[in-house]
Symmetry: C2
DNA sequence: TCGGCGGTTGAACGCATGTTCAGGATGCTC
DNA sequence: GAGCATCCTGAACATGCGTTCAACCGCCGA
């Protein structure tokens, strides 16, 4: 990485250092000075190029978004179709994207607009993939296709979000290629046969929920809709900006 | 203000304010002054009671750990057995634990020892639940029970970790009880019948992985040695099992 | 040779942070 | 009432932060 770093412009080198540090520690925990030191430049140059720390953050977001969407697009076009395995393939050469992965995981969980975009894109692709799979008979229809798409999209993100615990639980230092390989068959087992041997639980749950009309479409249980106290904080304008 | 707040000791009120603010914004983004203001005390008192901001953080961690493990234990004992539905039940009365949930999600993703403890506990329970399910014939055996336990444990955490996107995708402001209810049947469908209509993909993948035991010798990169980007953290602590 | 112009820097500014400390308030004991 | 312990605070401190700014460098066109 250092070998190619010297012919980068300083600007892109700053951005790459920021992505690595933001990904590893979180944006709040990384100072402009540290990014500058990592990139081998002065703190002033960071501000000069990106206007502010927040500007740098946004450019990092945009860079990752483009990298991910672009990569996923080409992967899908070149191989046709299977999102699940496309994502597995993408995760497989993890070494090449090590710096991006942590950053990506943070984007998806930190509530940023860029993270929303990524998730929405993933969800849309998942939903059409499921629709096509069902139409072609390769996949089972769901009683709630939208929810099923959300569930499966979220499943695909798990190795990203819980890389740490996944590795710890299986004795690997991180999301190694061998770990990704080991995940493949158990994942497909679940997606092929499920977990339960019979449909007793499913039938029971369906019956209970169907028998309770408020559950399926009930506009509000006692207080959900009108209650502004969804937020843990006292009434306070959503201060998600910085 | 709060009905129950006044009879709390100031100490526990500070801790609860900290949990709410840490959960909502992340510990780094919340200052001692803001916690103090939220609890209606002086910043100095926060330090006096907890020694430091980090001390406060650790006490918040411990408090959440005890709350979660204690609650899960009683839920399991009183109902016997089914971890999946126990967790669903726990998520169902989400309003009561709103403040804890965001904090919990951060603990699990931020790499703290307390988060590790929680995940390990969840994984252990999941693993025994699966073993019992298989032994009793209610669940299908897996070719890799450990990995399957990890996958299912991680699945159970999804609503916590991706509450934001789950809500956004389905038009709810957060993880509402009705959302939890709507998840139930699609989740059970996946766990009962799976997603794929036949086992073509599973067979293919099994064949490939079995026939090619050393699939990835090529892409192993050699960059790791001296790369400073590789090691923003202390060397992976590898906190092995219990 | 000159002038200008991006790219780059060291030093500084104002500010918010975590923390300290001397002491005020309150209530209990003799 | 005096002494004491406990709980709590306002004011300050040192530090690190994001950011600004005047000036320096090396290059290129005139």
């Amino acid at each position: 990485m250092r070998s190619t770093a010297d012919d980068q412009t300083l600007r892109s080198r700053i951005r790459d250092s920021a992505i690595a540090l933001f990904g590893a520690h979180g944006a709040d925990a990384v100072s402009v000075r540290r990014i500058a030191a990592e990139a081998g430049v002065s703190p002033a140059l960071v501000i000069h190029h990106f206007g502010s720390k927040e500007g740098l953050r946004e450019e990092c977001d945009a860079h990752i978004v483009e990298e991910v969407l672009g990569r996923k697009r080409t992967a899908l076009e070149s191989q046709g179709g299977d999102l699940q395995s496309a994502m597995q393939r993408w995760l497989a050469d993890v070494d090449a994207h090590r710096a991006s992965l942590d950053y990506l995981a943070r984007m998806i969980t930190d509530g940023s607009p860029a993270g929303d975009r990524l998730f929405d894109d993933l969800l849309a692709r998942t939903e059409t993939m499921l629709a096509e799979g069902v139409a072609s008979g390769r996949m089972r229809p769901s009683s709630d296709p939208r929810m099923t798409a959300v569930l499966i999209a979220m499943h695909g993100l798990l190795p990203l979000l819980l890389e740490r615990h996944l590795g710890r639980a299986l004795g690997e230092p991180a999301l190694t290629p061998s770990l990704v390989r080991r995940m493949t068959v158990p994942t497909l087992e679940l997606y092929t046969h499920g977990l339960y041997a019979d449909d007793a639980l499913l039938e029971a749950a369906s019956a209970v929920l169907a028998g309770d009309p408020e559950t399926a479409r009930g506009p509000r249980s006692d207080k959900a809709a009108g209650d502004p106290n969804q937020d843990p904080d006292p009434p306070r304008p959503r201060a998600s900006d910085h």
